[in-house]
Symmetry: C2
Subunit: 505 residues, 2 copies
């Protein structure tokens, strides 16, 4: 590479590392706000966060960044498109271009509107009053369209929004993968509903002491490979994972004293996110090459540990006797098969965040169709409730009794997160395809799980996923890792096989 390009590149990286340091301070402000901050600290915390966000924006959109990226994008550093340098230039440029395209006025209007509308949404949801929320949602859809116009797109506006969460993805790609999946899923859910086998839910919905749940959850997170020496597990109202910096990746959970699964599967989920963050190459910290790739790939890591592993038989071969020992009064006399069926209860339900691993995807497909139609104008915002209910009846066989548990249940739209929902199901799809490959690569993988050894899979994930950082975008990463394009078959087959046995279909 030329000396000049090298020099410009070094300056770019130095500037990015400065942005990352500021970002990482912002991350700590956020973690603290959601875990330990006293109530009285809110107003000042908002000032701190706004200052840091402004500083990040100022440093990241410095005109010098544009000059550097402009020159570097034309330099010989781009020759090998997957070299560290090319990856960093590509991804920094992608984010820079998006960030400078939105006028400051629109940024402020969007922030202000979504801050206000989350308050309105919360109240409207509580009162089951969609008309109260309607003008806000209309404004947000309009602002999202404006953002998409600023970003620019080739085929349709929604692509520009989706790209914020799943870089490089598109409606065309997502729709193609989702479409066949939906009909298969509806069939499977219906078949399970018709099965005579019904889980005994009292097995997991019982009085599980929170302090013991915590010990159990921590031991499970540590067993699968989440490193507590470079992490911690705290309580928060909504579980999350946050990276404060290399060597400091934190997760949270919440305990339901009358349910074993909520905290446990939530902890495994966040531990999956956390292990990914702990595993990206620290020598590239502060640059895309050292950062996790898309939200969808991130979700594939959390879902794999939560579902493929955490709701799987081999995991429980090891952990069920331990759970019996810890909760002898509840589980002492319970049979393995009954317990296993109870943690794999599948049934249509109204609320996405409480859904099982099968119906969950239907919740997402419905939302993707809805928000895609809202953005491209095929659906008017005022018609959202009826459209939601129609689709819900079609996919789940039930009609939501009200909008609070229907189209108003999620915070996402009120926060302006159009384009976010598809990443959840993309994550599930990636996860199944990755996991099949891991099983093929590692003979006897699940036998190892059954004796409490999860290092084989973690090592595989390190070598095949974590190590790449953002070298590949999601679609490409799937191909590089599995040798095949993303397809819904691996996830559908996994669900079919597992649940056909469980529900005797």
């Amino acid at each position: 590479m030329s000396d000049k390009a090298k020099q410009l590149y070094d300056e770019l990286i130095e500037r990015m590392k400065e942005v990352s340091i500021i970002n990482s301070c912002e991350a700590l402000l956020g973690w603290d706000e959601r875990t330990y901050m006293p109530r009285g600290g809110s107003a000042h915390r908002a000032n701190q966060a706004a200052y840091m966000a402004g500083l990040t924006h100022k440093k990241f959109t410095d005109p010098r960044m544009g000059e550097l990226l402009g020159e570097l994008a034309q330099s010989d550093l781009m020759k090998d498109e997957f070299s560290d340098e090319a990856v960093n230039i590509r991804e920094i440029k992608h984010d820079y271009d998006k960030e400078v395209k939105i006028p400051q006025k629109l940024v402020e209007e969007f922030t202000h509107t979504t801050t206000m509308s989350q308050g309105v949404w919360s109240q409207a949801r509580g009162e089951n009053d969609f008309p109260k929320f309607l003008p806000w949602l209309e404004k947000i859809v309009k602002l999202c369209r404006e953002r998409a116009e600023c970003f620019g797109y080739e085929k349709e506006a929604y692509d520009a929004l989706l790209d914020e969460y799943e870089t490089g993805s598109s409606v065309e790609f997502v729709s193609k993968v989702f479409s066949g999946f939906r009909d298969d899923l509806v069939g499977l859910v219906s078949a399970i509903g018709n099965s005579k086998i019904k889980p005994n839910l009292s097995i997991i919905e019982s009085a599980y002491a929170v302090d013991l749940q915590e010990v159990f959850g921590r031991s499970a997170a540590a067993a699968i490979g989440y490193d507590f020496g470079t992490g911690r597990l705290d309580l928060s109202a909504h579980p999350f994972t946050t990276g404060i910096g290399p060597g400091d990746i934190r997760i949270t959970t919440r305990y339901n004293p009358n349910h074993l699964g909520q905290a446990l599967f939530g902890t495994l989920h966040e531990a999956g996110h956390g292990m990914y963050e702990q595993g990206v190459p620290t020598e590239h910290y502060g640059t895309p090459r050292g950062a996790a790739t898309s939200l969808g790939i991130h979700e594939s890591q959390s879902r794999m540990w939560e579902n493929q592993i955490g709701r799987g038989k081999p995991f429980w071969k090891h952990f069920f006797p331990r759970a019996q020992q810890m909760f002898p009064e509840i589980l002492g006399e319970v049979k393995f098969d009954d317990f296993f069926l109870a943690i794999n209860d599948v049934r249509p339900s109204l609320i996405r965040v409480e859904a099982d691993e099968v119906t969950y995807n239907l919740h997402i497909l419905l939302r993707f169709e809805m928000e895609h139609a809202l953005i491209n104008g095929d659906l008017q915002v005022k018609d959202a409730p009826s459209a939601w209910n129609e689709k819900f009846q079609k996919y789940f066989g039930i009609t939501p009794p009200n909008d609070a548990d229907g189209c108003m249940q999620d915070v996402h739209w009120s926060a302006g997160y159009f384009g976010y929902f598809p990443t959840y199901t993309l994550g599930n799809l990636y996860s199944a395809q990755f996991y099949n490959k891991a099983k093929a690569d590692i003979p006897g993988l699940e036998d190892q799980f059954a004796i409490g050894n999860f290092t084989g899979l973690k090592k595989w994930l390190e070598e095949n996923i974590y190590v790449h950082g953002q070298r590949y975008r999601a679609e490409k990463l799937v191909e590089v890792v599995t040798g095949a394009k993303l397809d819904h078959a691996p996830l559908m087959n996994y669900l079919k096989e597992k649940y056909s046995v469980l529900y005797n279909l």
Copy 2:
């Protein structure tokens, strides 16, 4: 005031508030580092803290700050020297002038040397090897003298160092107050040592369950007025108080499972600091007018609640029955007077941080004399151990068996904190003088304590101390509040009266 001056002043305040926001993020980094940060996060945390410190320095020493302060110091805003504007200009200018006087090279050398020397000190103390620490301490004394020369001073170099912790104070002032105090103290300590009355220490040195200690400590902190809605109490290796911002003032403590007093008095101490921080005027947040004044005044607040209140009879009239209820197996049969004597054990001991409220001050007086002599050259660093031991024998009647528990016991000198120690005893002196005035102003104050009501004193502190922020410097504040100059008599009389009764002198 002129429009021009008003405009410059507003710009100054805006810049200060920006510095404060950055500082407050740094404060959260520090709090987290000492409470919850996973071990793996240290290296990145150092980067974050260094970046934020650099940013603070850059913003605070911006040449524009110098211009503003230069003009404002000559403006009509200074007419009333205790107006909000005059106070802010005076104190910001004081700090600015000090900060720009130290060349960057010296800042870096000082930071580097003290960082390294703390490591050496820790090891040398462990090995009782003063010669190993000697060259580092020599270098630090030399660097401190250089700092003093940069800062400038009227009479002697030590004044410039002391001013960093107790703005506007001087050797002359401190020596005058300390000198009479020392001889009186030595006499009192000796008399107590000769008393036949000896506390039964097993009363407080017993197996006090940590979880119950925590409940007890929290209830005591809340009772005296520390607001948990704008604060929190956590664990740390060394207790501290930190202000993250208005509405968010946090304290920490540590528990000794075999001692009731260590955590409890430590918690009351930090709660005293915390209440001061919670009480300064939030409308002036980010400026000196809204900040606590000197370290000594801060210490007066912590010591008052720890000692005058927390080790006093009225406090325990209320809390002793509660302690008996919480720890019935240890305290159930103990008599009030025996308990009270046990928490007021006075005896010469080697270690400052474990000293009682009487001998504590002798530890400080000794350190002040030592470091003053080291800075002005009357004492060579190599002679510090023998000088220490001679003084120790003279004041305490015992000779330290080694340097580890002698002149090497504190971290301060290795960290370059010359000028810090006197603020501890200044705090005790202020505290006694303030408390006398509070008792004179509020009839029946201690009767209120005896029924668990501490609001009278807190209100008095709010109205007489907290409300002023940095309006007055310490020496002046004492005069404004108590109508008299600082004197050692109030503290000495308090100690004499209390301990003459307890030890039948």
